[in-house]
């Protein structure tokens, strides 16, 4: 993508939710550094440089925002694939989902998710979460192997 490093990789099948996330992140001036994927398969193709991304240069995002219920390849399977790969497993993966189910939380952490966040219902809350998330992962947090 036009040479800019990708800071946030968003894997989200709901386009409205993706829009909400991107808009709230705008305030951190990273919106152009967000890359959105509609399903797990395309996200993995991108990370592993397969399929349509075959032969492209390696791009490591600072953080991956991952929804759990995804078409084709499920969110948990995407998480597993990342955490089982020696090169990719150091990338922080933040699960961002509507599910509050204990089962999902447990499975996410079991598969080495770095954080589990439930999408809040309510504009202010959603904005607050995205603000904090942006601050935390893009400002406060020190990232391994950042390529500027």
């Amino acid at each position: 993508m036009d040479g800019e490093p990708i800071l946030v990789m968003l894997v989200e099948d709901n386009v409205d939710h993706a829009e909400l996330v991107i808009r709230t992140l705008e305030e951190h001036r990273v919106a152009n550094k967000v890359r959105h994927f509609l399903d797990g398969q395309s996200a993995l193709d991108f990370l592993f440089r397969r399929g349509e991304y075959n032969g492209q240069a390696t791009i490591r995002p600072h953080v991956i925002l991952l929804d759990l219920r995804l078409p084709r390849v499920d969110g948990i399977d995407v998480l597993k694939a990342i955490k089982e790969d020696d090169e990719l497993k150091s990338i922080p993966v933040v699960v961002l989902t509507t599910s509050e189910a204990e089962k999902d939380v447990a499975r996410a952490y079991y598969n080495h998710a770095n954080s589990y966040l439930v999408k809040p219902v309510g504009f202010e809350e959603f904005k607050k979460l995205m603000d904090d998330l942006g601050f935390y992962w893009l400002s406060w947090n020190t990232h391994p192997d950042i390529k500027e």
């Binding site: 409205d16 909400l20 399903d39 759990l68 078409p71 509507t98 509050e100 189910a101 999408k119 959603f126």
Partner: protein
């Protein structure tokens, strides 16, 4: 003194009667000689004193000898005693004759007495030589006298001569008289003893007979008890000496004749049990024991035999044998009952229980065939559910079933709730004959009754005629009752297992539902609330372009939410709101579904192919329309950019349960194999870009499964998909 004489004169008891007689005669003779000697001396002294010396010598010799003889008899030396007596008599006569002047001497007559005495008292062997000896001695005396070698004969006065003669006559008379009396005694004794034996023979409670020793074994005697034994008189046997052969039981005849021939050959004691037919046709069991009687030289004389009535004994033996056989049968029955009971309580799978019980009963009693029928739901047919042997396998394979009516044993038994017995199926009850079971000769059909309801019946067949008794029915019915219980238990168990299974499925679904509600219903809410915040901002700033766009997003989310809620409601109603099943023509269902999808079908320009040859099925009309509608609708949705889109509806054979298989086939995008199961799960959508709640296929599966059918998909990406499903045939 008298006592002593008594004791001295007491003759000991010899072994045989003859010896006793001889002993008595010998002793009598001896005593007589002593008395006569005394009288003789006295007479001589009176008549001719000149001769008294000779007389005394003679008398003394006789007296001494007689005493010796008596003593010898006492010591059981009878032969020696009699020989001695005769010898001394001979010696005295000889000496007397020689010294008295030869044959003219009166004593010479004494030889006659010697001969007589010898024949009476001496043994047969001695009497002839003694007689001959007496004659020779007499002749010798005559010859010697003729030569003049003997002294001049004594001149006896005529009176003495007469006296001596008289004396000898008296002695002869006495001897002869004693002999006659003894003979009388002997004859009487013999007669008495024969009479005793006969009385004995004819009073013992058994029948005696005498048969000839030749191969014919003629009856020579039979005791009168034979009348009691057989009803025939002894004359029947004596008139026809082969009569006994005519009353031998035909089954024993050969055996008996063979034994008779063998017995005649070797002469060994005979013993055999066989049957005779009495005059009143009763069958009498006798034990025949006979010994071959031989004379002193060992020549066979006759067979002496005894017939003992052992009919009662035999009857008891047979009764005992019967009892043992009955006991054995009962033991086996009990054992089988125990094993059936064990199987009934331990095997909960009907498919294993029924064959196990059938096999148990069949093998334990050595029956020809055992089959178990179960009544099907409509109570119209009894379906063979377990059967033994090759023929059973055959019948199971062809789905052997019998109508529940009186035309079959099983049908009758189920209809009437009663056991039925046919003791000769082969001939008497031709209408019950089964071509698969040609050897059946008796059959018993037992109802399987549980809580007053006949749930099936068991048929037990034997290759033997009259193989079942009333007692057998009772025992086998007990087993049948037990089995009916077990079948009910197994059914309940299977029902329970399927209930548990269903509950588990529902539980999983409920979990899925909760999960979905927390995720999929939340999702539009996140959108609505999120964009509402922006709406407020844009309303304030007056950015109406963005306002409208976000309002569209919100409206969309609301629609989605409503669709989701509708589908959820629909899904939750399926289990509860299902109409009673009815016969439905599948062609009607297809037609209705197509009618409902007319719009979308036309819009997408899809060619729809359908068959006109559908079977009748049994189900809920409205729900089945939903099934077809959903599947066709899916086909339309996932058609992709196919140039010549087509959807085909049809039917294709039947599955293992004889349910017809239907299909809906499209030539759209297809589904990757790993998703073939997932697509039927609640809210599992493969493509977010395509409208839908992810409930459609879940709904379809629920409806099919409620009807007892199955649904599955066959597809490859890019090559379209075929959804197959089965439904019960009418």
């Amino acid at each position: 003194m008298a006592n002593f004489i008594d004791r001295f004169l007491k003759i000991p008891n010899y072994d045989d009667n003859e010896s006793n007689v001889v002993a008595r005669m010998t002793q009598g003779t001896a005593i007589g000689m002593i008395v006569l000697s005394m009288l003789f001396v006295a007479a001589v002294a009176l008549i001719a004193p000149a001769l008294v010396r000779r007389a005394i010598i003679l008398a003394f010799t006789f007296t001494l000898t007689s005493l010796g003889v008596i003593a010898l008899i006492r010591t059981q030396r009878l032969q020696f005693a009699s020989a001695l007596l005769v010898f001394v008599m001979w010696l005295a006569i000889t000496v007397g004759s020689i010294t008295a002047g030869g044959i003219t001497a009166p004593i010479f007559v004494g030889y006659l007495v010697v001969i007589l005495a010898s024949s009476l008292i001496a043994n047969q062997r001695f009497s002839t030589p003694i007689s001959v000896g007496c004659v020779i001695t007499g002749i010798l005396i005559f010859l010697v006298q003729k030569e003049g070698l003997l002294p001049i004969p004594i001149e006896y006065p005529p009176a003495v001569r007469l006296g001596i003669y008289i004396l000898f006559f008296v002695v002869t008379f006495l001897l002869q008289n004693v002999n006659r009396q003894n003979m009388h005694g002997l004859i009487k004794q013999a007669h008495d003893s024969e009479a005793n034996y006969k009385t004995l023979l004819e009073n013992i409670p058994t029948t005696t007979y005498i048969n000839s020793t030749d191969i014919n074994a003629y009856t020579e005697y039979v005791s009168p008890q034979v009348k009691l034994l057989l009803g025939y008189s002894k004359d029947d046997f004596l008139k026809d000496p082969e009569f006994w052969k005519k009353i031998v039981h035909p089954e024993d005849y050969e055996r008996l004749m063979h034994a008779n021939r063998e017995g005649t050959k070797d002469g060994r004691p005979f013993s055999m049990e066989y049957r005779l037919i009495a005059k009143d046709q009763r069958v009498i069991w006798v034990k025949d024991e006979a010994n071959l009687v031989r004379d002193e030289e060992g020549n066979p004389q006759y067979w002496l035999g005894v017939w003992t009535d052992i009919t009662a004994l035999k009857a008891a033996e047979e009764e005992q044998a019967d009892l043992v056989s009955v006991m054995t049968k009962r033991t086996i029955q009990l054992q089988t009952a125990a094993e059936v009971s064990r199987a009934a309580s331990s095997i909960l799978d009907l498919n294993k229980l029924l064959p196990a019980v059938a096999k148990l009963i069949c093998s334990h009693f050595d029956y020809y065939y055992v089959g178990i029928f179960l009544v099907e739901e409509t109570r119209e047919w009894a379906i063979l559910s377990a059967a033994t042997g090759k023929m059973g396998e055959e019948m199971l394979k062809t789905g052997h079933r019998l109508k529940i009516e009186d035309s079959s044993m099983i049908g009758w038994c189920i209809r009437n709730q009663q056991a039925r017995i046919a003791l000769d199926v082969g001939e008497d009850a031709v209408r019950f004959k089964n071509p698969h079971l040609p050897l059946t000769r008796s059959e018993i059909a037992l109802p399987l009754i549980n809580h007053g309801e006949v749930i099936g019946a068991m048929t037990i067949q034997s290759a033997l005629p009259s193989a079942f008794s009333r007692v057998d029915i009772t025992t086998l019915q007990t087993m049948a009752d037990q089995m009916a219980n077990a079948i009910e238990n197994a059914r309940l168990f299977t029902e329970r297992a399927s209930l548990i299974n269903e509950l588990e499925t529902q539980n999983t679904e409920l979990e899925q539902f909760t999960y979905t509600v927390s995720h999929d219903l939340r999702s539009p809410l996140v959108t609505i609330r999120g964009f509402l915040g922006y709406l407020r901002q844009y309303a304030t700033s007056g950015d109406m372009l963005r306002f409208d766009k976000d309002l569209g997003r919100i409206a969309n989310a609301v629609d989605k939410m409503q669709a989701l809620l509708n589908d959820l409601l629909e899904l939750s109603r399926i289990g509860r709101v299902i109409n009673p099943s009815e016969a439905v023509a599948f062609s009607e269902i297809v037609a209705e579904a197509i009618e409902l999808l007319n719009g979308p079908l036309e819009k997408s320009n899809i060619q729809l192919v359908t068959s006109d040859d559908y079977p009748f099925i049994f189900g809920d009309h409205a729900r089945l329309v939903e099934v077809v509608q959903n599947l066709v609708s899916n086909g339309i949705k996932f058609m992709g950019d196919q140039a010549r889109p087509s959807i085909q509806i049809g039917t294709e054979g039947e599955d293992a349960n004889q349910m017809p298989i239907f299909f809906v086939r499209d030539n759209g995008v297809g589904i990757e194999p790993q998703y073939h199961d997932r697509i039927f799960g609640l809210f599992n959508r493969l493509d977010p870009s395509i409208d839908g709640t992810g409930i459609g296929l879940t709904l379809v599966r629920r409806i099919i499964e409620i009807h007892g059918g199955r649904i599955w998909v066959n597809s490859k990406p890019g090559e379209g998909a075929t959804f197959y499903f089965t439904l019960p045939r009418h």
